[in-house]
């Protein structure tokens, strides 16, 4: 893959002092675009590989300035507030620029690999002392492979530890090329059953599991398993058992498993994206349940951590 400093990518956040996305103090670059559509997704703004408007209804005064500013005719006034036709909106961001009350924000920033690298490198001092570095997350970093490779290479050349947080859904060719610049992989296991996986995320997990085996055995990159715990969807003891079984027997016993309890921080984001119909309301798992699941993982001889 041809990597270049000028390769452009679309990101939606650069989070400094990320302390739950790999070792040490890290900077996490959240990339836009994801091949999966997990029902419980708490970063719905990460799904589309294009810029989107974040809209805070309660701030909107219905002044209508945005309606005129939009060159795509995507905004109308409805019940005294503005409303965006998301099909027409391509994310030019004009409305966000003119909105006097900051009810509109643009999600997604087009940047070059070099620019992202420079933002990441600002915290180099903190990485050095803490054993931290950069983490590419998303969305799905593998959905923008050229950009991901370019950023990772720049970081590695500067001595910054690199981590990729991935769902693993990409061609082996892509996986191989991107991860060859990764010092660590955070690998998501959302469900072990192919049919259930497809039901909840939109895709089957065969490719994902296959890639996991190859990453572990052929690329031999250190790996951490990340299992989101979503009540009623994937939190059964059976699923966790089978997932751990896969990790311990088909990958290795040295893989640390992070069980990530579902949280509701993303709930308001659906509202902001005017996608309330897609929001599913789930109660976070109880502490006792998390501990029980942790025990299951430990019973396979694997280290299990609750949270990041």
């Amino acid at each position: 893959m041809i990597e270049s400093h000028n390769t452009k990518g679309l990101i939606f956040n650069v989070q400094y002092y990320s302390i739950h996305d790999g070792p040490g103090i890290r900077t996490t670059v959240f990339m836009k675009g994801c091949p999966l559509k997990c029902l419980w997704c708490q970063n719905p703004e990460s799904q589309r590989l294009q810029r989107e408007i974040f809209f805070e209804l309660e701030k909107c005064t219905g002044c209508g300035i945005c309606v005129q500013a939009c060159s795509e005719g995507a905004i109308e006034l409805f019940e005294g507030r503005s409303r965006t036709n998301r099909k027409k909106c391509s994310g030019t961001g004009r409305c966000a620029e003119v909105c006097p009350v900051e009810a509109r924000k643009i999600m997604g920033r087009s940047v070059t690999a070099k620019e992202v690298f420079e933002e990441v490198a600002r915290d180099a001092l903190f990485y050095q002392r803490s054993g931290g570095g950069v983490t590419l997350s998303g969305g799905e970093p593998l959905a923008q492979p050229r950009f991901a490779v370019s950023v990772l290479k720049l970081c590695k050349d500067a001595g910054i530890h690199t981590t990729v947080d991935t769902c693993g859904y990409a061609s082996w060719d892509t996986v191989q090329q991107v991860l060859s610049y990764a010092d660590l992989v955070l690998y998501d296991f959302k469900h072990i059953d192919p049919a259930e996986h497809k039901r909840y995320t939109g895709v089957s997990n065969e490719l994902i599991l296959d890639n996991a085996r190859k990453i572990y055995h052929e690329l031999a990159i250190p790996m951490l398993a990340r299992v989101p715990i979503i009540p009623t969807y994937n939190d059964s003891a059976d699923n966790i058992k089978a997932t751990t079984q896969f990790i311990s027997s088909e990958l290795g016993k040295n893989i640390k498993v992070h069980l990530l309890p579902y949280h509701r921080l993303g709930e308001t984001k659906y509202e902001r994206l005017e996608k309330m119909d897609l929001a599913v309301l789930i109660e976070p798992p109880a502490e006792e349940q998390m501990l029980a699941l942790q025990e299951i993982v430990q019973s396979f001889g694997l280290e299990a951590v609750l949270g990041g």
Partner: protein, 796 residues
């Protein structure tokens, strides 16, 4: 907390704090008899009269004894001036203080003694405020709070100082070791010896005789008071039914008859001795010094003899925390009290750091002190951890575990920057390594320095004035020099130059104010107890306010709201001079109108680069401003003949300071709070997390400051695991390695605070840190509460 500590702590929760009048009456009784005698003798005699006659009691379960006021949880009305005017007193009563009508009359009867005779600090200072030059400045509020009348200054009335007469709000760390290791009897004997050998050959030698006589009078009285407690304990023991308590009282009796007159022989005696001497110098700013260092030999000896367990040591440390909670302070008019935010106190105990040899100084007691705070959860005294390269990681974790409880302590300070600061001020390296903190965070050497003038200078007020060619829109006066109309500046640099000229002008007036204050304090408040605990006290033979100390930082210039000005300057540079999106006239109009009708300009101002995000555009402006402040400060001299020092603590001045400052181009509305701390970001303006904020703070050269203040607020989710805390420890060390001086954390969630505002009665126990000290949240003013809530919360 064991049962004893739990019971003692319960008694701290009272609905009303009684104002007591016993001390005022006894001090006045003495004053009336000593009219005309040298001031220091009068104060020594007044102190002795109070100590000899004060009401004493020992409360159930107490191990460390010595009641603060004549009533439990009481505040003795101050003895330095008239009491509060009726209106203020009423407000204080509504705010939880209690004063009977009868006692009020007794206090009022003394007002006449204090009024119109040049006996109060304000009257003394007011004498020098000429109508042309200084008085308009003092009235402007650039130095917070503004005065309204020349003879009333920042308001009369105070309550709650300790047993001594005090030296006002002075940042000082005394040499506790002297008393603990040598005992007062020996020090008094030395003074007597010096007096016998004294020959009257110079004016100074005569003054020295007064000083020595005063030292002898006051300090002998302390020992007599301790004996009275001994007698009382013995009497109580004789009547006590419980065998356990009887034994405790007998031990108390024995201890109080031994210390502080004699050298402490055990950890317990050292703790009791410390309390006696602490009460003599107690003020809102009395510091505990390097407590884990000077108390360690006593602890170690007891441990070696197996005469104390860690549980017993912990219990004593907790008893001391409770004793310190029995003590409160309130003073001045409403503006002054707001500046201090409620019953605020800065009683700082410092632990950790390096030894004079440069080795790690952490010891078992350092850990126990943290444990005591965690276990007993009182907001006072506050704890500051000195951090150096080799501070043990488990000690850092232990400190952060305490911080995680939301108690608002400890604060962390960086040895590297503090020691560099002191060495640059010609303090020998070994002494510099032994530094301590006065007040919140000001660098002090025990017994070798004190800061008694440290004003709250509102930099954004000067920005307003610079924008208006020296004219102050608030007072309607031409206050500063004419440095040019804003509309006529061709470049940003020209405007910055004009601002600096204004700043230097008002700093110079502040330096004068500080000198007047120092001189007034020197004449009015000689204090033989404080003075004895300074280095070479007897040989020097001078009051602590009457001598130049080895590290002379008596006067300090302290900017508030500098970060608002840095942000404002960045906005002006970008929007007005570079991008020309806003004209100079529009900006001035928008500010004058408090942005009503100019929302678009405010939006652009808000979008301009903000300090706290690691953005060099504005960080370099902040750096330049702080450097200018430090450099300019060093051009002024205090009455002690030393260069004035720069410091950066804002306490809670950002609330009342903001209230009298107009809208600023950083997007701040008129009346809104100023940025808190000195290298913190303005509230809510740092949106890129803690490392970005630290990068901004590291861009500022903090070396020439004797303190800087950085507040960070963390949601508990950032501090869950030991690993999380470890990362935070690394964050702190990295900051300190790069020149950072101080950082402290607020660990509470927003909803809790909002709920506490609505239902204060449910949160009487909720403790938060406000810029350098901890306080009960529900006792803070609404503005300060709002400020805490609005500070950026790092949800991780």
């Amino acid at each position: 907390m064991n049962e004893r500590v739990r019971k003692l702590k319960e008694r701290l929760q009272v609905d009303k704090y009684p104002i007591c009048v016993e001390k005022s009456l006894l001090v006045m009784e003495s004053y009336r008899q000593t009219e005309g005698e040298p001031e220091i003798i009068r104060r020594a005699k007044a102190t002795a009269n109070y100590l000899d006659k004060k009401t004493i009691f020992i409360e159930d379960d107490e191990l460390i004894v010595g009641n603060v006021a004549s009533k439990p949880m009481g505040l003795e009305a101050g003895s330095l001036g008239p009491t509060w005017p009726e209106k203020e007193l009423e407000e204080l009563r509504q705010g939880g203080l209690e004063l009977s009508a009868q006692d009020e009359m007794k206090l009022r009867a003394m007002d006449d003694y204090w009024t119109g005779k040049g006996r109060t600090l304000w009257e003394r200072m007011g004498l020098y405020y000429d109508d042309e030059r200084l008085w308009p400045f003092i009235q402007s509020g650039i130095l917070l709070p503004p005065w309204e009348k020349k003879n009333e200054g920042r308001g009369h009335g105070a309550a709650g100082v300790g047993w001594g007469l005090g030296v006002g709000l002075t940042l000082i760390v005394v040499d506790y070791e002297k008393v603990l290791h040598e005992g007062l009897n020996k020090l008094v004997a030395e003074a007597e010896e010096e007096l016998r050998n004294l020959r009257y050959t110079t004016a100074d030698s005569i003054k020295k005789a007064d000083f020595l006589q005063a030292v002898i009078t006051a300090n002998k009285a302390i020992v007599r008071l301790a004996h009275r407690f001994g007698d009382l304990a013995e009497e109580m023991a004789s009547k006590e039914i419980s065998l356990n308590r009887k034994k405790e009282l007998e031990r108390i009796a024995e201890t109080c008859r031994w210390v502080p007159g004699n050298p402490a022989r055990t950890f317990y005696q050292a703790m009791q001795s410390f309390w006696f001497i602490w009460m003599m110098i107690a003020s809102g700013t009395t510091a505990g010094g390097r407590f884990d260092q000077f108390m360690y030999p006593f602890y170690k000896k007891d441990k070696e003899k197996s005469s104390i367990t860690d549980d017993e040591a912990l219990e004593l440390l907790e008893c001391l925390r409770i004793k310190i909670m029995q003590y409160n302070f309130v003073g001045g008019n409403k503006l002054q009290r707001d500046k201090w935010a409620g019953l605020a106190r800065w009683n700082n105990f410092v632990i950790g750091g390096v030894t004079p040899d440069g080795e790690d100084a952490t010891n078992e007691l350092s850990y126990l002190i943290l444990e005591a705070a965690k276990d007993c959860r009182t907001p006072h005294p506050t704890i500051t951890v000195r951090v150096h390269e080799d501070t043990p990681q488990d000690f850092m974790l232990k400190a952060l575990e305490l911080g995680r409880t939301g108690i608002g302590m400890p604060a962390f300070v960086g040895d590297k920057s503090y020691i560099e600061y002191l060495v640059a001020n010609v303090v020998p390296l070994r002494e510099a390594r032994d530094y301590s903190l006065g007040g919140c965070l000001d660098a002090m050497l025990a017994g070798k320095s004190r800061t008694s003038a440290i004003g709250m200078f509102l930099v954004p007020r000067v920005f307003e004035i610079a924008l208006n060619n020296g004219f102050d829109p608030r007072t309607g006066r031409q206050l500063g020099p004419k440095t040019g109309d804003f509309e006529n500046f061709k470049t940003f640099d020209d405007f910055m130059q004009a601002f600096k000229e204004q700043l230097a002008h008002f700093m110079s007036l502040t330096a004068e104010e500080h000198n007047i204050l120092l001189q007034a304090q020197r004449e009015l408040y000689p204090d033989p107890v404080h003075s004895l605990l300074m280095v070479d006290a007897i040989k020097e033979g001078k009051d602590v306010l009457d001598r130049t100390l080895p590290f002379e930082n008596g006067s300090v210039l302290n900017p508030v709201g500098m970060i608002n000005v840095a942000d404002a300057m960045a906005a002006v540079r970008k929007l007005v001079f570079e991008e020309e999106k806003v004209t100079k006239e529009e900006l001035k109009d928008a500010l004058a109108a408090n942005r009503e009708g100019y929302e678009n300009i405010r939006k652009m101002c808000l979008a301009a680069p903000k300090y706290g995000n690691g953005d060099a555009y504005v960080d370099m402006i902040a750096r330049d401003l702080y450097q200018f402040w430090a450099d300019t400060t060093a051009t002024f001299y205090s009455i002690y003949g030393a260069k004035m020092k720069a410091s950066g603590i804002s306490i809670t001045a950002h609330g009342p300071g903001g209230a009298i400052t107009g809208a600023t181009p950083d997007g701040r509305y008129a009346g809104e709070n100023l940025a808190d701390g000195t290298v913190s970001a303005a509230q809510g303006r740092d949106i890129h997390g803690p490392t970005a904020l630290l990068r901004s703070a590291m861009a500022i050269n903090q070396a020439p400051y004797q303190s800087t203040l950085l507040n960070m607020k963390f949601h508990p989710s950032a501090l869950r695991s030991a690993e999380d805390l470890g990362k935070l420890a690394t964050l702190i060390k990295t900051y300190f390695d790069c020149g950072g001086k101080h950082v402290q954390f607020n660990v509470v969630d927003r909803n809790t605070l909002l709920d506490a505002q609505k239902h204060p009665e449910r949160y009487r126990d909720l403790i938060v840190r406000v810029a350098g000290y901890s306080a009960y949240f529900v006792q803070l003013t609404k503005a300060v509460q709002d400020d805490i809530i609005s500070r950026t919360e790092y949800m991780l």
